[in-house]
């Protein structure tokens, strides 16, 4: 459905998913309600597009410039779009909160989206410079900003998770991923690149032997560096569910609304189980798609042997290829949503214990619905979620 309508339908899909998730989320015996509509999202997207056209046009013109501007245009575009993306994330959060109703009152969010965007960009720079070690402090700081501007009616939120606590929980994973990477980089640096390039530049049939002659042990060094890089990537993939579990548990345990406190008892093994289900279904799906693909390929092969492939046949084959790709992509995306995303939401919610619920009894209504422009921007810039 999504492809046939080339993605215009996604606004309805997203709204359906949110309605389902919200109305099946129960807090203290009452469920949440999502009042956003797909039409709002579509409008927000169209407005966002019209605002982005001049930005993209400017970037295009800057790239044509031959001077210093042209050289820097890539960086400027990256920074500008990054800033806009963070701005969009904050505005989109405001939209979602003001469309979230609980006990007849809405949530809302104050604070400046630009203030958040600049903060977030600054933190990303610091995080990049510290190879990710500042990430816990970044999340804690940004989350504090978001939550102290978040309100349920007149009940103000806050965030009490500490970046240091997250750092302590995350640092073993950081070492596991970065240690092999350091070895890999050292391995690559140790290679005598100049000799290698010279050997390649001379050309001829005996390049390999000349490389070996000039650099004894070069092959071993490269293999070692590749192995280490591979180990780093593999460990990162294997540890990702653990990382998500740690993050989710730490984040939910830091949430506060007035006297309402949240504690999470999320188990890492449940997150791994969700990912295992995803991998299982994905493999099953791949096998089915493989059989279908092999069958179609056989048909095309037979037709080609008979010499019956003309232009129409080629167009049909190309279309079949495209449809196959779309079905595969949609299949994996659906499996991911049904297993990982839904499970994480469910696990995250079910593992919560709330205390101080008495504070929820006497909240007064505040806040107004916010515009969906942020959602549109986030969508156009591909930084959206749920």
């Amino acid at each position: 459905m999504l492809f046939v309508t080339l993605g215009i339908y996604r606004f309805w899909l997203v709204t359906d998913v949110r309605r389902f998730l919200w109305s099946n989320t129960e807090i203290a015996g009452e469920t949440l309600e999502y009042t956003g509509t797909a039409l709002e999202l579509l409008l927000g997207f169209l407005v966002a597009i019209s605002l982005l056209i001049p930005v993209y046009g400017g970037i295009f013109l800057a790239a044509l410039d031959l001077g210093i501007l042209g050289k820097l245009s890539g960086i400027i575009a990256f920074a500008a779009l990054g800033l806009l993306g963070q701005y969009a994330i904050y505005r989109a959060r405001r939209y979602r909160l003001t469309r979230t109703i609980y006990r007849g009152l809405r949530f809302h969010q104050q604070g400046s989206a630009w203030g958040y965007a600049f903060r977030a960009m600054l933190w990303w720079v610091i995080t990049a410079l510290t190879f990710g070690l500042a990430y816990p402090f970044q999340v804690a700081s940004l989350e504090r900003y978001k939550m102290r501007n978040t309100f349920y009616g007149d009940l103000g939120g806050s965030f009490e998770g500490s970046g240091f606590a997250l750092l302590l929980r995350g640092i073993p994973m950081w070492f596991l991923v970065f240690a092999p990477l350091v070895f890999a980089v050292r391995g690559f640096v140790a290679v005598d690149w100049k000799a290698l390039v010279d050997a390649l530049a001379q050309g001829g049939d005996d390049v390999m032997s000349r490389i070996e002659g000039g650099n004894p042990g070069l092959g071993a060094a490269i293999v070692f560096a590749m192995l280490m890089a591979g180990a780093s990537v593999t460990l990162a993939a294997l540890l990702y569910p653990a990382f998500q579990a740690v993050m989710l548990r730490w984040w939910s345990s830091g949430l506060r609304f007035g006297d309402v406190e949240v504690r999470s008892s999320l188990h890492m093994r449940h997150v791994y189980a969700a990912y295992a289900r995803f991998v299982g279904y994905a493999i099953l799906f791949s096998i089915v798609m493989g059989f279908v693909g092999a069958f179609l390929f056989g048909v095309v092969g037979v037709a080609a042997n008979l010499g019956k492939v003309d232009s129409a046949g080629e167009i049909a084959a190309t279309l079949a290829l495209l449809v196959g790709y779309v079905v595969t992509a949609l299949g994996f995306s659906t499996i991911y949503r049904a297993t990982v995303l839904l499970s994480l939401w469910q696990l995250g919610m079910e593992s919560l214990q709330l205390s101080g619920l008495a504070a929820l009894e006497k909240v007064k209504a505040r806040g107004r619905p916010a515009s969906p422009l942020g959602e549109g921007l986030a969508d156009a810039l591909n930084v959206g979620s749920y």
């Binding site: 993605g7 109305s23 009152l105």
Partner: protein, 368 residues
């Protein structure tokens, strides 16, 4: 069943109230056990809201607050549904609305594809002649810097351009003579720059702004100067038709159309790329045929042998190219050769270079 239990939220405070709901003739009445009346909603102002499966959640249309009434008894919920026009418990109304949305989306998609297939090339074709030559030069310089960076993959050794070292100067002079003869006939609005570069493929390409690159491999494969001239004439066709600028406009238009409007929900990026490749290769196929025609005509006018372009094509492209025609930049070689030979002039052509000059051109990349 004219009354039932419910939960009421007044939309002003978060207080939860267990209430009795009574269905009267004009609307429903919400009151608590002490008899305090909380709300009176006419049936036509009641709307159904999203809720879990086991619950009917009601709100009041046009209300300034978010007052809510929740009914958990299915039989009683059905009673309310039957009386209120805007309560859609079975979802029939929503389904019909959804079908309309899907219909419109398919329509919008069809229109988008039509714009991509016909609109973008049409706009690019009409816009290109309107762009001033100075803009094309600026664009050409930017593209040139990029293309040179992509083509020039050598680490060391002689310069990327041939015809600079002392031993290569005679070759450069021969090339200039050949190009001057073509350029004099072509009467282009901008100055042509032709360079032979050190790349082993038998190929040539034209950039916006009049920059033509002939690869060393093409010179090596050519048997006479007219074959080189034929290929350059073909590239001059691209310059005259401003195909490079057109391609940039088309690429930009398609990127915008597909990339921005569709978003990226299921990793549609690859689909966008595939669609763009298919569409753009059809644009260039037309452009190639047009450049062939122009090149043949130019060779005829310059008094050269237009069939040399055809023989060069046969040498580089092979007799027939198997595989997917739809994804190929250049149309079927056989068809091109036939078309060129058909329109080549029958008069006896005069060669572009003397034997000595041709030998010099052959050595334009010799000094390394």
């Amino acid at each position: 069943m004219n009354s039932g239990a419910g939960t009421y939220f007044d939309g002003v405070t978060s207080a939860r109230r267990d209430v009795v709901v009574e269905l009267t003739t004009g609307g429903l009445q919400v009151s608590d056990r002490d008899g305090h009346l909380w709300a009176q909603w006419p049936y036509e102002e009641i709307e159904g809201l999203t809720a879990p499966d086991n619950m009917l959640r009601l709100g009041r249309r046009g209300s300034a607050t978010l007052e809510r009434l929740e009914i958990r008894d299915p039989a009683f919920a059905a009673e309310i549904d039957a009386r209120s026009a805007h309560v859609d418990r079975t979802g029939a109304l929503q389904r019909s609305q959804r079908m309309r949305v899907i219909g419109w989306s398919i329509g919008a998609t069809a229109s988008l594809l039509l714009v991509a297939w016909f609109g973008v090339p049409a706009i690019a074709t009409r816009l290109t002649p309107l762009l001033p030559v100075t803009f094309e030069s600026v664009l050409g310089d930017a593209v040139n810097a990029q293309v040179r960076g992509m083509l020039d993959i050598r680490k060391a050794g002689a310069a990327f351009d041939c015809g600079i070292a002392a031993a290569e100067i005679p070759g450069r002079i021969a090339l200039d003579k050949l190009v001057r003869r073509l350029e004099a006939v072509a009467a282009l609005p901008l100055h042509l720059r032709t360079n032979v570069v050190r790349r082993s493929e038998a190929n040539a390409l034209a950039l916006p702004g009049g920059q033509v690159y002939v690869f060393q491999g093409l010179i090596a494969k050519a048997d006479n100067a007219d074959e080189v001239a034929g290929v350059i004439a073909h590239e001059i066709g691209h310059v005259a038709h401003r195909d490079g600028t057109k391609a940039v406009l088309e690429g930009g238009g398609l990127s915008f159309l597909f990339g921005m409007l569709l978003g990226d929900f299921v990793g549609g990026g690859a689909v966008v790329l595939a669609a763009k490749t298919v569409l753009q290769s059809t644009y260039t196929r037309e452009a190639e045929s047009a450049a062939d025609a122009y090149g043949t005509e130019l060779m005829n006018k310059a008094g050269g042998d237009a069939r040399a372009l055809a023989s060069m094509l046969e040498k580089t492209g092979g007799a027939t190219e198997p595989g997917m025609k739809i994804l190929m930049d250049h149309p079927d070689t056989k068809a091109r050769v036939v078309a060129i030979n058909k329109s080549a002039a029958a008069v006896s052509p005069s060669p572009f270079l003397e034997a000595g000059e041709w030998a010099a051109l052959k050595k334009i990349c010799a000094g390394s």
